[in-house]
């Protein structure tokens, strides 16, 4: 094991390395109910470099959405950040801990500094208002503009996200649009105030692959043109391979590995990431020389319940590498200059 400092044990530093725009440090987010507490995100750390794309990848329920909602501070009445910090570097260079901002301060940050595209477009678009009004609303909140200026900016934005016939579509309601068009509207809403950081929670999951390709192209182009950093959430390793510079893999509420995208695919250093990659059908690997189909290698078992997490490594009950010490808490450790893994056997993988 490399003896670099363990991230999970360091105190939250006041400063942020200068190329970093967002850094979660030991973030824990809980949902508190009368009879029980759901520890949805536990001791999560990751870093996003300025102008780059960090993909958070993980299976259903692993805590991806809760992590991004924590950064936006949109956890609802039952959610609370129970520990850790989320440092963000504002456009003016000052660093703030999103976990400790007041809701008033967050209103200044949302939209202009950080914007989010939510997982369900239909729940975040209001069916009763035209898309022009909904996109314009964002401008009204942040910039005091006259109606004709708002209209002009909205049309500009609809053109930017390649909605054909923008002037006509302005007065459409969400239900009159296809899934792909609605997703473009969501992107327009998120970007109209030119945020520095875009959080995109599964922005293409509900779309067909041909439309997904259009939307991924669009996000990449806008990222370049607007010089944004992107936190991209997905469960699809194919999408990760396309969009990410860096990847953080989540499992059961924890980040179990972070590394540059090529290292994640070529040299995964956590058994869960290995299992995830082996589960994806790949004909080059899954057929032998004679053309016979090999069996896939799934991860046995299922994800543990939030209310019955194993005491040590959360992956231990499903892990082919598990040994008795895996039953004690395991931390995210730096195993190479740019590679972090939460596995005591990472050095042997």
């Amino acid at each position: 094991m490399v003896d670099a400092p363990a991230i999970s044990r360091t105190e939250a530093p006041a400063a942020l390395a200068k190329d970093i725009v967002l850094e979660a440090q030991n973030l824990s987010t809980h949902f508190v109910y009368k009879t029980r507490t759901a520890k949805a995100v536990r001791d999560v750390s990751f870093t996003l470099q300025k102008g780059r794309t960090l993909a958070i990848v993980g299976e259903s329920g692993s805590g991806k959405s809760v992590t991004s909602l924590s950064a936006m501070r949109l956890l609802g009445p039952t959610g609370e950040i129970a520990g850790g910090s989320i440092l963000y570097r504002k456009r003016d260079g000052t660093v703030v801990d999103l976990a400790r901002q007041s809701q008033a301060a967050m209103r200044q940050i949302r939209g202009r500094e950080i914007s989010m595209i939510f997982q369900e477009p239909m729940t975040s678009l209001n069916p009763l208002f035209t898309i022009g009004d909904q996109i314009g609303e964002m401008l009204l909140l942040h910039e005091r503009l006259a109606a004709p200026d708002i209209r002009r900016r909205v049309i500009e934005m609809l053109n930017l996200v390649e909605i054909p016939g923008a002037e006509r579509r302005l007065d459409d309601y969400p239900h009159q649009m296809s899934g792909g068009m609605r997703q473009r509207v969501m992107i327009a809403m998120a970007l109209i105030c030119r945020p520095a950081l875009l959080i995109a929670d599964e922005p293409t999951t509900a779309l067909d692959v041909t439309i997904q390709a259009q939307i991924l192209d669009l996000i990449r182009r806008l990222q370049r043109e607007l010089a944004m950093s992107v936190l991209f959430i997905t469960h699809d390793m194919g999408v990760v391979a396309e969009v990410a510079d860096e990847v953080a893999v989540m499992y059961a509420g924890e980040v179990v590995e972070q590394a540059p995208v090529r290292d994640i695919f070529a040299h995964p250093r956590h058994p869960y990431t290995l299992g995830l990659l082996a589960s994806i059908p790949n004909v080059r690997r899954d057929f032998d020389a004679a053309g016979a189909r090999r069996r896939l290698v799934p991860i046995p078992g299922t994800v543990p319940s939030l209310y019955a997490m194993p005491p040590g490594c959360a992956f231990a009950p499903r892990c082919p590498y598990a040994v008795p010490p895996c039953g004690s808490p395991v931390h995210l450790e730096r195993i190479a200059p740019k590679h972090l893994s939460r596995c005591i056997r990472a050095g042997e993988l």
């Binding site: 390709a213 790949n282 896939l296």
Partner: protein, 323 residues
């Protein structure tokens, strides 16, 4: 699929059409669809959302009544059968639904969900016999007999999909339509179910129509592929051929749009412009022409028929062979 006619065909679809009459007008969900499924094979059905995959799967079992054409199952013309005969036929044909969460009755125990299928088709003479059969089925799909008395909400998505598979297998069908049977599952669980389907297929010599939108899953599992676009077959053939050298411009665009889990993959992507047109008023001529980079005037005039490129590949494109 020219090649498949010569083999032992279990299911043949000829000129199948389905039009839904709605308030907004006629929805042409399927139009003149023909293909056949060789006994013992897994045929993949792919295409964008709304292309008619589910409608086609349901028409095969007459859960949706086709508007025209023929479906021949093991030589029998299904559309000519009366309802009692069709019910008997359904014992040989089953469907697994996409959504493992809503396709199981939440108020029934697993034992009764599967037992109901057995009773409906008169399988098992007594309660105890049916009970043993059910326990055996659960074991076959990788669940335990002590799961019998539980309710669907007590299971994970993968386990629920296994229950759906056990229910479909209960009547010992020869043919199964799997409509997005693994689409809602996480990949690690999806791999478990794909292995299960492989095993069952060999053990029970099943024939499967596998509807999916994940192209790497289809490539892995299926021998033959049928590509639908706006209710029409645009290309069909062996998986190997279609993935290596897709002939139809739509198949090419679809395959090039699919993300590959490899950051170093060479992507010479042709991003398809626009969206699938409304089935209320499909384009004249070739339905793909509004998005096709090869389209010319002829494509608006003439509906492309099947062009047999080889025994492994048929493309429905006026320019097949020259593009």
């Amino acid at each position: 699929m020219g090649a498949m006619e010569s083999q032992d065909t279990l299911l043949a679809v000829e000129g199948l059409s389905k039009t839904f009459q709605t308030g907004a007008g006629d929805v042409h969900a399927l139009k003149d669809v023909s293909f056949s499924i060789p006994r013992g094979s897994v045929v993949g059905l792919v295409g964008e959302s709304g292309s008619g995959k589910t409608t086609l799967g349901r028409c095969l079992l007459r859960l949706v009544e086709p508007s025209g054409g023929a479906v021949r199952f093991d030589g029998t013309d299904l559309l000519a059968l009366g309802s009692a005969e069709m019910k008997r036929m359904r014992k040989r044909m089953q469907i697994i639904f996409q959504d493992p969460f809503s396709s199981l009755n939440p108020r029934m125990r697993v034992r009764d969900i599967i037992g109901e299928a057995l009773v409906t088709h008169g399988i098992g003479k007594s309660r105890t016999e049916r009970r043993d059969l059910t326990a055996g089925l659960l074991e076959e799909v990788g669940l335990k007999a002590d799961h019998l008395s539980r309710f669907p909400h007590e299971f994970s998505g993968g386990q629920r999909q296994r229950i759906g598979i056990a229910r479909a297998l209960a009547v010992e069908p020869e043919f199964i339509v799997a409509d997005e049977a693994v689409s809602a599952l996480d990949v690690s669980v999806q791999a478990q179910i794909l292995n299960l389907m492989q095993d069952l297929r060999e053990r029970r010599s099943l024939t499967i129509l596998f509807i999916a939108h994940d192209l790497s899953v289809v490539e892995y599992l299926c021998e033959e592929i049928v590509v639908l676009y706006l209710g029409r077959v645009v290309e069909s053939g062996t998986a190997r051929k279609l993935y290596a050298e897709p002939a139809h411009p739509y198949t090419r665009a679809l395959l090039s749009a699919a993300p590959v889990a490899d950051p170093d993959a060479v992507r010479n992507r042709q991003v398809l412009k626009g969206e699938i047109p409304s089935p209320l008023s499909p384009p004249s001529g070739c339905v793909f022409r509004t998005r096709c980079s090869f389209a010319d005037e002829a494509c608006a005039m003439q509906v492309p028929g099947p062009v047999v490129l080889s025994e492994h590949q048929t493309s429905h494109c006026l320019k097949a062979g020259s593009i």
